[in-house]
Symmetry: C2
Subunit: 313 residues, 2 copies
């Protein structure tokens, strides 16, 4: 098969042996695979693939058709439209995924949209609801809301009855974020005065943390899943005690099979029904053929886009 391949800090297309599905695994013919920040870190050499994933093929999410079943796999049939997060290897013509990580593709989504769903919606749902405990009536602040996870978070939170305040650095993208359901879309400055917020989804990094804490409601939760702007934060513990607050942080990529499978079940139960009902959309900023994967990475890192960059195979 052909696959995006990391060679000396560049992403090229190269031939690899076809992967073979083991017990409980499914061979998927990939049709679309979204790019994520972790791919960029991996390309630079600073974020090796987790054990069990191809070391040199990036891609944390994919959508495609079931091509073959490994021994004991029974949740899907050949030809089924499926999607999943994976530890790596998604940006290829073929990938092997454990059937417990696979989800069905909602009927209304085309391939580029489906290829951009798993990582960002799973990440956003896990951060907002599983970690952050966001509930109807609460107030949410999303930093960096125009990106992939941000656009998913805005939609999920608004759909669940939360009031959503979103910070977006690029003024050209604010109307797009508003259209996704955010109630208040602002620049990156002055958010401290817009609280109190019950949940803060931090996709930007350490420089925001003092302001996040200042704007936190009593009993509030700060969930950090992106630190592109820096990771060394100041935390005033006395202020956090006074707020009876908490700061949690997480990544999806490094989790073991059983935890990734739990997030897939949470998606099937709480998110996919909202796609079926038309309450969620997948903003796709740009689509590139696998042969043009290097250009896809350039587009991803250039910024100034709303939603996902997707490679089609």
């Amino acid at each position: 098969m052909r696959a995006a391949t990391i060679r000396d800090g560049e992403v090229v297309v190269a031939e690899h042996p076809d992967p073979q599905p083991g017990a409980g695994e499914v061979l998927v013919r990939v049709r679309a695979a979204g790019l994520n920040g972790a791919d960029i870190l991996q390309r630079a050499g600073g974020y090796p693939a987790p054990p069990g994933s191809p070391p040199d093929i990036p891609g944390l999410e994919l959508a495609g058709e079931v091509q073959a079943l490994g021994p004991g796999a029974q949740r899907f049939r050949p030809g089924d439209r499926v999607m999943a997060i994976t530890g790596g290897g998604g940006q290829a013509e073929l990938v092997v995924v454990h059937e417990r990580q696979l989800m069905p593709v909602p009927a209304g989504l085309d391939w580029p949209e489906a290829g951009g769903v798993p990582e960002v919606f799973t990440t956003a749902h896990d951060a907002l609801f599983t970690q952050g405990g966001l509930a109807a009536g609460e107030r949410l602040l999303v930093h960096g809301a125009a990106g992939g996870v941000g656009t998913a978070a805005v939609q999920l939170a608004a759909s669940a009855g939360a009031h959503v305040t979103a910070t977006v650095r690029n003024a050209d993208l604010r109307d797009g974020v508003r259209a996704l359901g955010a109630h208040d879309v602002i620049g990156p400055d002055g958010f401290e005065e817009r609280g109190p917020f019950d949940v803060v989804l931090e996709l930007v990094g350490a420089p925001n943390l003092p302001g996040d804490l200042k704007a936190l409601a009593t009993g509030g939760r700060i969930v950090v899943i992106g630190v592109g702007a820096g990771f060394k934060a100041e935390l005033n513990l006395l202020a956090l005690m006074g707020k009876r607050g908490r700061v949690s942080a997480s990544t999806l990529r490094a989790r073991p099979l059983e935890e990734k499978a739990m997030t897939a079940r949470a998606m099937e139960r709480h998110v996919l029904p909202l796609f079926d009902r038309g309450a969620l959309s997948v903003p796709v900023a740009a689509t590139f053929a696998l042969d043009d994967v290097a250009a896809a990475y350039e587009r991803f890192t250039a910024g100034g886009k709303l939603g996902k960059v997707v490679v089609t195979a």
Copy 2:
């Protein structure tokens, strides 16, 4: 009635009008009331009593006999032995407490022991289990384990099947902490190498936080409820993401009635049965009559003690 009274940074004994129980409240004849760190802060003028509490009478916990019932109060009868946390006013001959905050005194406890139970056991239980989610088989690190909350936490965690590592600065107190059930008692240095810990109970403050994070297990929880050594902490968000960890912080004193009442129900359900079974003890370092309350505060701040300082009335 007579009560400990804060006057210009000193604690004296003064006359006050007898408090009157309102709807749902109970008038308690106080027999014993423990001292806590918040009393010291309040004495210094930096931590005013919460609204609804006497502004000048310290005391966050007490044990005594029910003397009279306000309208509608029905959980207890005059003469019943009760104990409670309260927003203030516990170090007095009489105090009014809402009946939903009151708990029965376990049969085996004398008055000084009972007066030292509510604040530290409620705080420790809330921090370890409600906030920290500590469960059997997990590994706990308690910083500052010789103090009131620390000695309660060591016992509660060991009773619940956790492995307990305790840091105790004063070498003379380490055997006492070991006798309470701690499996590994060490000085304040080098704890980073003793992990990984599923839960860290931070009773010392900000200087420990980088080490706490280094020693944290995947999915671990740091719970901060004491910052005597400093509150401005450094938090490496990338490391916290890698651990999929969380830092929460809290105080009991400022919580509203319904939340304090919930902690009293948790105590009745999960902690008082362990007293009845003889699995918990209340180390009382020193007892002072109400007339000697100033000496009690001196003893409390002098350090070098295992367990509670209690005023009897």
